[in-house]
Symmetry: C2
Subunit: 473 residues, 2 copies
């Protein structure tokens, strides 16, 4: 049963399992104690710290273990901001950071700080020069991911780090998605990562804080991990995390080449096999194992369920698959379609046959979902009048001269508003306008994206929930 | 090799190991995902929550997993304080709480809150009526441990909880030391505990927040654990924690009886076997497996090392064994001797022969440490003139009429100041005074404690670091 959601979490690497089991017997005691069990635990902890630091590319005394990548980000960001509070209260982040970073930014803003977000291009890539332009005299910290977790695009961390050094601003790199593949390049100041992303156990994050970076830990004092991370040390897990990081790094070059080819196959063939699909993310500067695409006229949750029934585990940034019913902020920042979104992230060891099976199953699954939703038939034809189902199926009104044709999709979740739009676009003359009324948050992203994919003109949102589309073709 | 430091951490319980290994294969995925691996992880997490909630005595939706007991305390205290900020900013705690609680209190005070501490008696017990007297109209939260981690004394949590209900103040119980033995009695509002204390793995704390308790999680938003605990769920560890809690509870009654008898043996025999020892903590209302005693004229760190060489792992609240060189705040609050302090906490399964071996080894070890320190010979004789080594060994001055005899122990660590005091007390007449100059923090505790043990009068500290002792016998 192929599991294609490696970017969420991967099964324990065999080396992690072995190290975990071995250190359960040796690493359970309190490493602060003077007795032999404590000293043994301390030795394991020190050795794990050295191994992890080497893989990160920092000194062991710059590397701290936290209970998760989220904790590493929370502690790293709050500690760096507090350490530089005399400099100022400005934080800059990219718009496509992980929600853990963006939630820190929200919390910082709520506490009276200032936050600016560097935007991204349609591939989800930050522009290093634009990122640098966000650095100000009062900037306490800048945050940039090494690679995007939803679309796989690599970010220009080395260039951003150089610009930050130049400006005297520390750069925190969220390396959660890339650390298993390679060390983060460049002269960064802080780094955060998460072991379960590379095959280590849950319960371990890494926080690196370079010597010389001003850092003031927040929250109640705790002497563990040099005051950077409170709570009893989870030594067996930390040992397993460090051992597996070394192990996956040893396999990284070969797996990178293998998975990169499989992802290229998916990137090339999905648009051939499935009509009305947008493959997103940078095709070249990307993580080796991750590809994301969105399917017009498809409900992401149903798509995930159908793929799951076929044995494929994938993830989605569609709004209907999130508890908040909002589409992924990454897709939003990129300005790409969010409906029918599928993220395929291949774990190490994925076989070509599994990918082929996926490619074999996907077209039928998408077609089935579309059929049940009453979606327009296929690409190219959606723009031609009369082809896309009868207008009677939509709540269409005022198609006459003078007032624009209106599609009322209030209360309907995506992809319904876009489907209804596609059904009626042929009913207005070229140059004519369709008004779509929709209160699903995703419409704001998907209606413009549909226009871009279909060559129609998105004419704006004159009032919230009212979208204007002008027929061009 | 007997390990007698169960109150710090215990080896993994066989049931925990079994559950951990089994769930490594099933519990590595993100339980928020819709695919089968995610659903499987979610099932394990839900089952663990139910099992843990049952053992805690709360509803599953009142129970949250955190990365450690420290995190449970930090989140529980900060969340409860924030949830009741309109009521007021007063926090009350006992003086003998775990440092994780006291550090929260310090941090709260630094943020502008008010903190009061309920004192304890010489056994380390909080008086429920005194605790209740700390509850005020502006009290946002009260914290009380179920049992003390250093001396084993049980606290009156049920009575304190009743008083808190009466006053409309939530009570948070730190149940770290007792939860493996029994559910916390009474109508508490919040509870925190730590799995590695009962034989669960590191990396798991429990936070219970009863429905109806106002709670506002602090820090950046995170949807995991109902917003109570950020970070990727550590499901294998959580499963192991819950399973082992049930397992140790099933064995608790029998182990309680067995270990209680062994501790009674230590409590009775140590004072018979070793001169000048004070056994501290409540002899009856106590944890079954824990006993603490302090040895006059002994340096705690050396004692620990010597016991370690003999194969016994224990812990100590003496100042010389802490990184801050301050004696345990628990011993200080109790007003008992801190020098030569030993905490013996027996893990489940400890055999009577191991305790007997310990009792066989201890007298020689203590005598050896005392001999090397040049300590006075033995109990009873220390007060009689001329018996306790020659005054020439101490830095003694002004023994004549008029000005009091002075012992200059500045720059010397405990137990040296007390040893020097004991050596010269016989040189002053009954009714005469010795002045001890000492800058070791522990002297403030140990000189009065020595006086109480020796029947001499402690006449105060007229200026910092100057202690007056009047000879009575």
């Amino acid at each position: 049963m192929p599991y294609f959601d490696a970017a969420s979490s991967v099964p324990l690497h065999p080396v992690a399992r072995q190290a975990l089991q071995a250190s359960l017997d040796e690493g359970w005691a309190d490493p602060a104690r003077l007795h032999r069990e404590g000293r043994r635990a301390r030795l394991l902890l020190d050795a794990a710290r050295e191994a992890a630091a080497e893989a990160v590319g920092c000194r062991p005394d710059e590397l701290f273990f936290t209970p998760s990548g989220t904790h590493a980000l929370h502690s790293g960001i709050s500690g760096a901001l507090a350490g530089r509070r005399r400099v100022g209260r400005h934080l800059t982040v990219s718009a496509v950071e992980h929600s853990a970073v963006l939630h820190c930014a929200e919390s910082w803003r709520a506490d009276g700080g200032t936050v600016t977000e560097a935007g991204v291009d349609r591939h989800g890539a930050v522009d290093a020069a634009e990122f640098a332009a966000h650095l100000r005299a009062d900037t306490a910290l800048a945050c940039l991911q090494s690679a995007n977790h939803e679309v796989g695009t690599l970010q220009p961390v080395a260039e951003a780090a150089a610009a930050c050094r130049e400006a005297g601003v520390p750069l925190l790199v969220d390396a959660a998605q890339s650390l298993g593949w390679e060390a983060v390049p460049g002269d960064w100041s802080l780094l955060a990562a998460s072991a379960h992303k590379w095959g280590g156990p849950a319960g371990v994050g890494l926080l690196a804080v370079r010597k010389g970076v001003r850092f003031a830990p927040r929250g109640p004092a705790d002497e563990r991990e040099s005051g950077r991370s409170p709570g009893f040390e989870n030594i067996p897990a930390v040992v397993a995390a460090a051992a597996s990081l070394r192990a996956v790094r040893a396999e990284a070059a070969a797996e990178d080449a293998r998975l990169r080819e499989l992802v290229d196959r998916i990137r090339a063939r999905v648009p051939q096999l499935v009509p009305d699909v947008e493959v997103v993310g940078d095709p070249v500067r990307r993580l080796p194992h991750l590809v994301t695409f969105s399917c017009l006229y498809v409900d992401g949750e149903t798509l995930l369920h159908e793929l799951d029934r076929e044995g494929f585990s994938v993830s989605s940034g569609s709004s209907c698959t999130s508890s908040t019913l909002t589409p992924s902020h990454v897709l939003r920042a990129m300005g790409v379609l969010s409906e029918g979104n599928v993220r395929v992230s291949l774990p190490a060891g994925t076989r070509a046959e599994e990918v082929e099976r996926f490619l074999g199953v996907l077209p039928g699954v998408v077609a089935g979902v579309r059929e049940r939703l009453g979606a327009p038939a296929s690409a190219g034809s959606a723009g031609s009048a009369g082809s896309a189902g009868s207008a009677a199926e939509g709540d269409v009104a005022g198609a006459g001269q003078g007032s624009p044709l209106t599609v009322d999709a209030v209360g309907r979740l995506c992809p319904v508003p876009v489907i209804e739009l596609a059904k009626v676009i042929g009913d207005v003359p070229v140059g004519g306008t369709v008004r779509v009324l929709a209160d699903d948050e995703a419409a704001r992203l998907d209606i413009p994206a549909w226009c871009a994919m279909r060559g129609q003109e998105y004419a704006g949102e004159p009032e919230p929930g009212v979208y204007l589309v002008r027929r061009k073709v």
